[in-house]
Amino acid sequence: MGIKTLIWLLPLPPLLAFFIIVLFTNRKKALSHTISVGAAFLSWLGSMVVFFFAVQKGAHQLGEHPFASSINWLPLADKWLKIGVMVDPLTAVGLFFVAWTVFMIFIYSIGYQNYGQPKGDHDQKGLPPHGATVIDEQGHKHKVPSIEPMYSRFFAFIGLFAFGMYTLIISDNMLTLFVGWEIMGLCSYLLIGFWYAKPSARAAMIKAFITTRVGDVFMLLGIGALYAFTKTLNFREIFFNEELLHKMATTPSGFFGLSVAGLIGILLFIGTVGKSAQFPLHVWLPDAMEGPTPVSAMIHAATMVSAGVYMVIRMFPLLSAGAQHGELTSPMMAMAFIGAFTALFAASIALAQNDIKRVLAFSTISQLGYMIAALGIGAYVAAIFHLLTHAFFKALLFLGSGSVIHGMEHGIYHVDEDIDPQNMFNMGGLRKKMPITFWTFLAGGLALSGFPIITAGFWSKDEILADAFSNGHWMVFGTLAFAALLTAFYTMRQITLTFLGKPKTRAAGHAQETHWTMTLPLVVLAIFAIGFGWVGIPEQFPLIGGLIPNWLHDFVITTLPHHLGEVGFNWAPLLTSLVVALGGLFLGWYVYKDVPAGAEDPLKKPMGFVYKVLQNKYYFDELYDIIFIKPAIWFSETVSYLWMDRKIIDGILHFIARIAFQLGTIFRDWFDVPVVNGFGDFVGESTKKIGKSLRVVQTGRVQQYMLIALVITVATLFYYLFSVFTP
């Protein structure tokens, strides 16, 4: 099997798993998860093989001649619309992080959905499991977690999701990328609303779907415009065609003074704004935490939201078309502005959140903003680098939070206390109860804060800051640096509240480490969260720079037709990132180190009004409610429903329906009733009499058919003789 065939096959196992589970094995839980995890394993294995071959081929070779294969898919007039797969350096590293995170999260899901636990006492489909009562050998009653009632369905859905993600990554064109993109959108919708009997989950799924749809519509417009202008959707055909890029950058589009490249770039970027939850379409991601935690980790941290960033990274040559001498193009300006703003904006909200997963959700939005901003200022490699490290450590953090929640639930069942297992102010002291979770979470948290030298997050974040600094984008630099400070602060706040100090509730005191299927992925991802940074240490970094070659930079840069240089080393951004990271961590620890049980957030009083604003996420949900949702409801109820639907459209439809029905009846009366029903009635009443001879066919019906045919034929001949040929 050639490497190209293998690339084609990568997305298929999860898809097959989806169909097999949905169609056949959905009643058998163990079989379903075996199939699903097995499929994820196969894809992982294939991805590793592809990755290995890609690395072996060498960066320059691969950059110029990627593994690519395409087939004709749709004939369009004179040419074919091709679809295909391609592995260039960017795809290779993308495959690497997708394969690892997806596979780990699949394994984690087994434990998270309580495999091996008894069936719940009152569990029902569409609700999270509520625990089961078991009687142990001594006859004591215990309440223990119960298995998810729709266990198989979950594994089917995440399989479909993995298919979408792999499709997106290996696409060599915008079309299949968009297909993968939408499949993931659908899975995101299904999985956020996995517990569909919860009204909050239903609301969240709809919100997520519709909000991302706003972005997708613009993206589709962008794709359409791209095709209309270039007549192709293949990445390399566009990016490696300098003439075409130049033409796109110089042809005015007629909209807002943008060039064609600018317009398409902005439209595509709006798709990313929706998918990667950037301001102002960020509102769906926090609510998406209603889904099961593996879903939050996979879809809403590591892969799907990253896909938004991946897409703009992919399109970078187009977005930057026409940029000269450090000048930014319009799409890049938009990205730099929105990314930096989102980074700060979301980080500030995260300060005042108490739900362990919501903090992470806002943190994700903020970090994605980082990447977008990095790309906006042209820091291509830094953006990819941060995308990779973030995928690992944020998946780790989410899975860790899920593990914490599970441990807390265990404690809650044990002491039968009615508290929110996700509220950080109910936790504390979990360090001793859940050591593996603690250490891995700590690794992830430090990586997120950018703890110097030893964590991956430091290197990637530092590179973004260095890029911004050395290219003179002061505003971006300042905003991102301040956001980094806030990030370190809320991360440490989270770690301190959750793991350090003393248990704030009895449940926290009885929390328990989770099953190995959950801790193993944590450990694996923690290794990446720490170690992955080593592949991208800048050459000129003091002391350790150059010890390990800056492999990532050399590798991914060959994806671009024009290779960007590495930025020079400068002490200022390094010092800044050291100060903000360590300072933020220290402050976070200092403020929250001994919050007593039942106490409020110590910042609530001093910050007063501001805290309330932050806690309510700047009231954006309320704002959107007033300016979009309420008017939309009014419009749909009054204008659309009452006026348009009931009066105009219904009127027309009824009219058409009446005509169609009349026509159908007339035809039936002419053709059907005399022939068939007449016949059928005869059969019903006097089968024997009619059956004896073939009188039925002699009742004139067949003659009638023939007569009609003959009339038509004669008329046709008449038409020929007296109209066509008459001179």
């Binding site: 002699q698 009742t699 004139g700 009638q704 007569l707 001949l717 003789l721």
Partner: protein, 172 residues
């Protein structure tokens, strides 16, 4: 020439009369006999055109074998007298009108041609004889000839299937 013309027109008259008789006659036996007569006239037409073999085939196959079968069937069924026709009332006038229109159209097509009418050619020796027909049939038209045999086989099977006593009734 003139004898041929006289012969042709008198035969044509007979052909038309027997054709009409076939249609109008109320007695099935008479109708069948009209048809035999009609076939004979046609056979003579073939002879006039130099197709001796076809004329013989027409007489022996159609006028002979097939018509005898027809008569057998009619007599066995005892259906000499046609009952009152239970056709729809408007059928007959429509049929007449249609046939008139068709006739006009056919005539129009025949008399209004765009391609030149080619002069009649003298036929080669033995044209239409058994030997030459056999040659054409087994050389140029081998495939249709063979297919026809398959067709007859299929028709036979079909007839047997449709008239064969049901065994399955007992088996079930």
């Amino acid at each position: 020439m003139t004898t041929e013309l006289i012969l042709f027109f008198s035969l044509a008259l007979i052909a038309i009369i027997t054709g009409l008789g076939l249609l109008i006659s109320k007695n099935a036996i008479y109708a069948a006999l009209y048809l035999v007569l009609n076939f004979f006239t046609i056979a003579i037409f073939y002879l006039l055109l130099g197709g001796a073999f076809i004329a013989m085939a027409q007489v022996s196959v159609y006028a002979g074998a097939i018509m005898v079968l027809f008569l057998f069937v009619i007599m066995i069924l005892g259906a000499e007298k046609l009952g009152k026709s239970n056709t729809v009332a408007w059928q007959r006038p429509v049929a007449i009108i249609l046939s008139i229109i068709l006739l006009i159209e056919a005539g129009y097509v025949l008399f209004w041609r765009t391609a030149p009418v080619q002069a009649a050619q003298t036929l080669p020796d033995g044209f239409g004889g058994p030997a030459s027909i056999g040659n054409v049939l087994l050389n140029n038209y081998l495939l249709p000839f063979e297919i026809t045999s398959v067709l007859l086989l299929v028709a036979m099977i079909g007839a047997i299937v449709l008239t064969h006593k049901q065994k399955t009734d007992k088996e079930v």
